[in-house]
């Protein structure tokens, strides 16, 4: 089954004075998984629900596979949906839940397809269990199977992993990616967890206040954020003072290329990722280690430089050399950085 193209055109939705959607334009290519990422209230869930037909947009259109389905009620839209919680019908077994959509379409039985779907999501042995007998992760697998059983044109996932334990979350997102790739359905995945979005998506759309700030592949969004909001929301960023110098910015004595040309200046704030900061013990260094936190394979060190606190990522093997109080030298790698724009928002930049 190959996916279809989806377009959200200039969607607007206001609740009183709050603009949940403020001119959202989004295109999903056939078969791709787009993650909508953003803080609470940015409109990502509203966008998904408008696409599903569970909410009306004030203006704008929804086009699926070339058809304008804006006025179509939710039950005629041929979409599968997985909710954050309470996805499953509690009075039906896992198998009966998955069969629900099939039976509505007149497939008398549909048991084979349902069993096949449960197998796909790796939960075949729990087919006759009731939702209250399943763990959170298992329930969401069944919900996914149920959504896919009807072979929908679009798959919609509304923060499906947010209510689960951390370890289950990581496990299940890999599963979702695998299944989605195998089945090939165009998918919209809403989440507030940027790590999850980067791990799962073909493209990531970062939203704020009802609009898309940036849409691009995970690596692009992470390494080349178009503005301060994206740089800050996706991954960690240090805010370091620097001097704008033509097409580069000078921070701590190093010239760093820019992701996009800066306009203000010459004094600007550069957004530098922790992994671009090298920390070396140096008795003449201008920095001093404040805290050193072990995080597994990598570790995080905070260094005080004058009034600034800089976060650096350090290989865990070197932690022994960097106890709190050590005098250190900071070197920045020449990786492109974004500038903090205290001025009004830039236009969304697509890469």
């Amino acid at each position: 089954m190959s996916g279809v193209a989806v377009q959200l055109n200039d969607l607007r939705r206001a609740f009183g004075t709050v603009h949940a959607l403020d001119g959202l334009d989004l295109e999903l290519h056939p078969g791709e998984l787009i993650a909508l990422l953003g803080p609470s209230g940015c409109g990502k869930t509203t966008a998904l629900r408008v696409l599903a037909g569970l909410e009306d947009a004030d203006s704008g259109s929804v086009v699926v596979d070339g058809r304008n389905i804006t006025g179509l009620p939710a039950n005629r839209r041929d979409m599968g949906m997985v909710f954050q919680a309470y996805s499953l019908f509690p009075h039906l077994t896992a198998l009966e839940n998955v069969r629900f959509g099939l039976r509505l379409r007149g497939r008398r039985g549909g048991g084979d397809r349902a069993a096949e779907m449960l197998d796909l999501v790796g939960i075949a042995e729990f087919a006759s269990r009731y939702p209250h007998q399943l763990s959170g992760g298992q329930q969401q697998r069944v919900a996914l199977a149920r959504a896919l059983a009807i072979s929908p044109q679009v798959l919609l996932l509304d923060e499906p992993l947010s209510a689960l334990d951390a370890k289950v979350r990581v496990q299940l997102r890999e599963e979702i990616k695998r299944i989605q790739t195998e089945v090939g359905t165009t998918t919209l995945f809403v989440t507030h967890d940027q790590e999850e979005a980067l791990a799962v998506a073909d493209r990531v759309g970062v939203m704020r206040a009802g609009r898309l700030e940036q849409l691009g592949e995970p690596a692009d969004v992470y390494l080349r954020p178009v503005n301060a909001f994206v740089a800050d929301f996706v991954g960690l960023s240090n805010r370091l003072p620097g001097r704008l110098d033509g097409e580069a910015v000078e921070v701590f004595g190093t010239r760093l290329p820019l992701v996009s040309p800066g306009s203000a200046g010459p004094d600007v704030i550069a957004l530098v990722r922790p992994e671009s900061v090298d920390v070396t013990p140096d008795p003449d260094g201008s920095g001093r280690v404040l805290t050193a936190g072990f995080l597994g394979p990598m570790s995080r060190v905070t260094v005080a430089v004058g009034d600034l606190v800089v976060i650096a990522q350090v290989d865990s093997g070197r932690m022994a050399d960097l106890p709190p109080g050590t005098a250190v030298r900071l070197d920045l790698r020449p990786v492109p950085v974004a500038l903090d724009d205290a001025a009004p928002r830039d236009r969304p930049f697509r890469s």
Partner: protein, 265 residues
């Protein structure tokens, strides 16, 4: 723009108001009728009702009934609290195994209708008459049993909302005796639940008729019923007044609950 969802919400709103209007009319009608009935013509039923000395003179049985009910309500609330609150706390702290038994017993009166209970109470009350006389206030003993389900549920809900064993352990580790634990540690934290139980008790006692009537004692409802034979208007007026009083009580109760929820969250 289609507005499918908006259309559905509008339909729900219409249905909601139609249902409320029709059923609301049904429920308001008797209340309106009671007001009309008691203010018909040139009676001064209400003026008489609020004039206590005149009322006791004109309708002594009614006055007796009112006084008896107020006494019963107060005593029952007191007895219920003294009996139930320490027991509920004690069971939680020291005898968790008995909790189901206590719960079962407290819910038993729901399954035993008052009319059945009074049949069995007759011989017991023969002894009560012998020991304590035949005053209407002795109905307190029976009433405490009647309120058990409601009072227990209220107090149990209050105890469930706080972690009694932990509070007790903390107090005990600081040197408190069991009495102090109950009186100064647990009780202040279930104040609103206790008040709920008391309010429910008063509401129930004021509305009780069956046991009082069949044990040949007086109370408010018995008096109203008796009065109905001679003065329909007065009995309706007292009924309305009682209803308003209970409504105010339960309204206070729900406001209390709302405040507790607001403060606790």
């Amino acid at each position: 723009m289609a507005g499918v969802i908006a259309r559905r919400r509008r339909r729900q709103r219409v249905l909601r108001w139609v249902v409320l209007a029709v059923l609301g009319a049904f429920f308001v009608l008797p209340l309106v009728a009671m007001v009309e009935f008691t203010t018909r013509g040139d009676q001064d039923t209400w003026r008489l009702l609020v004039d206590w000395p005149l009322l006791s003179q004109t309708y002594p049985a009614l006055a007796d009934g009112i006084v008896a009910s107020l006494g019963q309500a107060g005593l029952t609330a007191l007895l219920m609290l003294v009996l139930l609150v320490p027991t509920a706390i004690w069971v939680r702290l020291r005898l968790p195994g008995l909790r189901r038994l206590v719960e079962f017993i407290c819910l038993l009166p729901l399954t035993i209708p008052a009319i059945v209970l009074v049949v069995g109470l007759a011989p017991v009350y023969a002894w009560v008459n012998y020991l304590l006389g035949g005053s209407a206030l002795t109905l307190t003993f029976a009433y405490t049993v009647l309120v058990l389900p409601f009072a227990y549920r209220a107090i149990d809900a209050g105890l469930s909302a706080i972690d009694v064993p932990t509070l007790a352990e903390a107090a005990r580790s600081l040197g408190a005796g069991w009495g102090t634990v109950i009186w100064r540690v647990v009780l202040p934290n279930i104040r609103s639940a206790v008040l709920s139980a008391a309010f429910l008790t008063v509401a129930l006692v004021l509305g009780e008729f069956t046991i009082a009537s069949l044990l040949n004692r007086t109370n408010l409802q018995v008096a109203i019923n008796f009065l109905g034979k001679s003065s329909a208007t007065m009995s309706v007026a007292v009924s309305l007044a009682t209803l308003l009083l209970v409504f105010v009580l339960l309204l206070l109760l729900s406001l209390l609950g709302a405040r507790r929820r607001g403060a606790g969250s």
